[in-house]
């Protein structure tokens, strides 16, 4: 009858519609869920790469040197691709296939960055002359042929900016290289042609008196008693006094009355003059003195440097700080986050990374076999905060097909433990109880008492060494328990969320003196390559 036939027609209409709708919704669900899963996998792979770099560099004595660092980075990149191909193995992707989807990997270091991306290997320039062609022997058996696509590290790019101008002291043309904290390098000519090369940290509130007393924020900084640490020499574990100079630790071997440095478990004798420095550790005092000298230099020659002096065509787009860049007289000090110097430093670093990275990712279109338009995504402010915080890896993954869309994502993972930089929260405070056990706390833990000395947190990490039989052993350079209140969990932290560490310490003695001394001592001992200018010619 009428109604049954109507019902049958209704079913015939509705059933296909609902089936199509169901499969469409399933498809959308699948796409979006794949996207968030890929985000997770990218995070995991980047974290693995970072961990590999961390472990390699902490366990090597030569990790400061550029060759060693580049090797560590290449190992880290290898780890990244290994983890990626494991995570995506169900889709049949191998390492070579994944490389087509990763336009660039950025390793941001202390004063510059590396980009790992493909490039073309050329033996000579575009239109070589006959001589040039003849000068390269015919390489039928060469490792890499002319015009071959290779993956590798591009040259190191510094976070630097060039300034020109003139003031009452003459004209100047300098390049200032910035870093992740307030260390700068100034190279160029000032005073109408005098060549200079200056290094140091920018600090406000440093005072050096004529009788060689150093004050920072009103607190006197003294030289320290010898620091001791455990080290393996020739297979034997010893506890020796040491000083760290330019990244190398010099130990006093009291058994043989010599000063040594240790490379891969073997001791080599160094100059006996260093013994005086070990016994009377002046690193902290020298740190503040160097900052004072740099402040005097800048006030004399570059005092009114501003963004108008930058030598760059697009400077108004990227550099927007107004006023003096080196504002030592800022009410919170030049080290604070809101000072002109800090804002400008972040602008320089951002511009340096973004410019080269967008070029590298654009160029990737030439190399990848995948037909996607690769573009650099816009990094958010929270991302830049993470990058500025410490050494980090930025990874990009673009072009993989997920259902209806093409995946385009990135991941930023920051390294907390490395020997390149001493951040404000890398200094732990040691306290000892009545039984002689040491505990280490964050400086911001509430109600600290019996504070002894400040320690760099890398020295608490486990290191490996070999004993006399050639067995691998583990040891801790500095041994103690990590506080359960501030390090294992952050339960009793006294600092408020809008306070800086300087404000927190402003009325806490002797904690402030211990902290600032340790910070100065550790920062002064780091490896920093320096160019010495001989002006006597």
């Amino acid at each position: 009858m009428k109604i049954q036939s109507l019902a049958v027609m209704f079913i015939i209409l509705i059933l296909p519609i609902s089936l199509v709708l169901a499969s469409y919704t399933q498809n959308r669900v699948e796409t979006l869920s794949l996207q968030s899963r890929y985000d997770s996998k990218l995070n995991d792979a980047t974290y693995d790469a970072l961990k590999a770099y961390q472990i390699n560099s902490l366990n090597s004595d030569t990790s400061d040197l550029t060759n060693s660092r580049m090797r560590n980075i290449k190992a880290s990149v290898n780890t990244f691709f290994n983890t990626m191909s494991t995570n995506f193995s169900t889709l049949g992707y191998t390492k070579e296939t994944i490389q087509n989807y990763v336009p660039a990997l950025v390793f941001t270091m202390y004063d510059g960055y590396y980009i790992y991306s493909p490039y073309t290997n050329y033996w000579y320039d575009e239109n070589p002359t006959e001589e040039e062609r003849a000068s390269i022997p015919e390489q039928n058996s060469g490792t890499y042929s002319n015009g071959q696509k290779l993956y590798g590290l591009k040259p190191y790019v510094y976070y630097s900016c060039r300034y020109t101008g003139s003031n009452s002291k003459g004209s100047y043309d300098v390049v200032i290289t910035y870093s992740l904290d307030n260390y700068i390098q100034i190279q160029g000519t000032v005073n109408g042609g005098e060549v200079v090369s200056k290094y140091g940290y920018l600090l406000s509130g440093v005072k050096v008196t004529d009788d060689d007393k150093v004050y920072y924020k009103g607190i006197e900084i003294n030289s320290e008693a010898p620091l001791t640490e455990t080290i393996f020499i020739d297979g034997e574990e010893r506890e020796l006094q040491y000083i760290k100079k330019n990244g190398t630790k010099y130990y006093y071997d009291d058994r043989n009355n010599r000063v040594i440095s240790v490379l891969n478990g073997k001791a080599s004798t160094q100059s006996q003059d260093i013994l005086g420095e070990i016994k009377n550790n002046n690193n902290a005092k020298n740190y503040y003195k160097e900052a004072y000298d740099l402040q005097q230099f800048i006030k004399k020659y570059l005092g009114d440097l501003g963004t108008g002096n930058i030598k760059d065509d697009d400077k108004n787009l990227y550099y927007q700080v107004s006023g003096k860049i080196f504002d030592f007289d800022n009410s919170k000090g030049i080290e604070s986050e809101t000072s002109n110097f800090n804002t400008h430093r972040i602008e320089v670093i951002k511009h340096a990374i973004e410019k080269n990275l967008s070029i590298a990712i654009e160029n990737f279109n030439k190399y990848s076999g995948v037909t996607t338009d690769f573009k650099m995504p816009k990094l958010k402010d929270t991302d830049w905060d993470k990058i500025m915080d410490n050494i980090s890896i930025i990874s990009f993954l673009q072009g993989i097909n997920i259902g209806g869309k093409v995946y385009n994502g990135y991941s930023i993972i920051t390294n907390n433990k490395n020997e390149d930089i001493v951040m404000e929260d890398s200094i732990y405070i040691k306290t000892t109880d009545d039984n002689g056990n040491s505990t280490f706390h964050r400086v911001t833990e509430s109600s600290l008492s019996n504070t002894q000395i400040g320690v760099y947190n890398i020295n608490l990490e486990r290191r490996s060494a070999e004993d006399t039989n050639g067995n691998a052993k583990y040891y801790f350079p500095v041994y103690g328990t990590l506080s359960y209140d501030s390090i294992v969990t952050q339960n009793s932290i006294g600092i408020k969320s809008n306070q800086t560490i300087a404000e927190y310490l402003s009325n806490k003695q002797p904690l402030a003196k211990i902290y600032y001394t340790a910070l100065g001592r550790e920062r002064y001992g780091l490896y920093r390559p320096k160019v010495e200018i001989d002006n006597t010619q």
Binding site: Q4, A22, Y474, L482
Partner: protein, 173 residues
């Protein structure tokens, strides 16, 4: 007489077909979309905790709002396994074969929420493990309609669930 009976049955059949059947289909789709929303929100929430190292009350309430916007009520369970490296240090200078001495102790939802409700951030450090799982507690429309035909009973019945976890890669400050 039998004519009227057939008419009544026919009208009943028509009602079921015209109203209940599309309604069931649509509410199934709604459930699918809710499932996707909850899964995405959970994954994003956990990944953000892993990369920043802290759980802020702001992010947590946004997460609850997000999953609540699907129209259902959910039960959120969070677990943080805090890494304690001190036991691994107590055995001094051991051979390289000893691994796995570090201890993880767990902190659960109510302890974390206590801190969050005081408007403080819960900070984690690198090496901790965090996991979040969400299950729905009400009966969705699709479930209610299906109950006409068959009933699913039990304490732990849920139709929408998501969970995600991982290792924390940054220390919160």
């Amino acid at each position: 007489m039998s004519d009227t009976l057939i008419t009544v049955i026919a009208i009943g059949l028509a009602a079921i077909l015209m109203f209940v059947f599309p309604l069931m289909t649509m509410s199934d789709r709604t459930d699918d979309v809710s499932q996707l929303t909850v899964e995405t929100a959970t994954t994003e929430f956990v990944d953000e905790i892993r990369t920043t190292g802290k759980i802020t009350p702001d992010k947590y309430s946004k997460f609850i709002e997000n999953i609540g916007s699907t129209g259902n009520t959910y039960n959120v369970e969070m677990e943080v396994k805090v890494l304690d490296e001190n036991p691994g240090k107590k055995t001094t200078q051991t051979t390289k074969d000893t691994i796995g001495e570090n201890v993880y102790y767990s902190v659960y939802t109510s302890q974390i929420e206590e801190k969050l409700y005081n408007d403080e951030t819960y900070k984690l450090k690198e090496g901790d493990i965090v996991s979040v799982s969400v299950k729905n507690t009400n009966q969705t429309l699709a479930q209610q309609l299906k109950n006409f035909f068959y009933t699913v009973v039990g304490n732990d019945t849920y139709t929408i669930a998501a969970s995600h976890g991982g290792i924390v890669t940054a220390t919160g400050k």
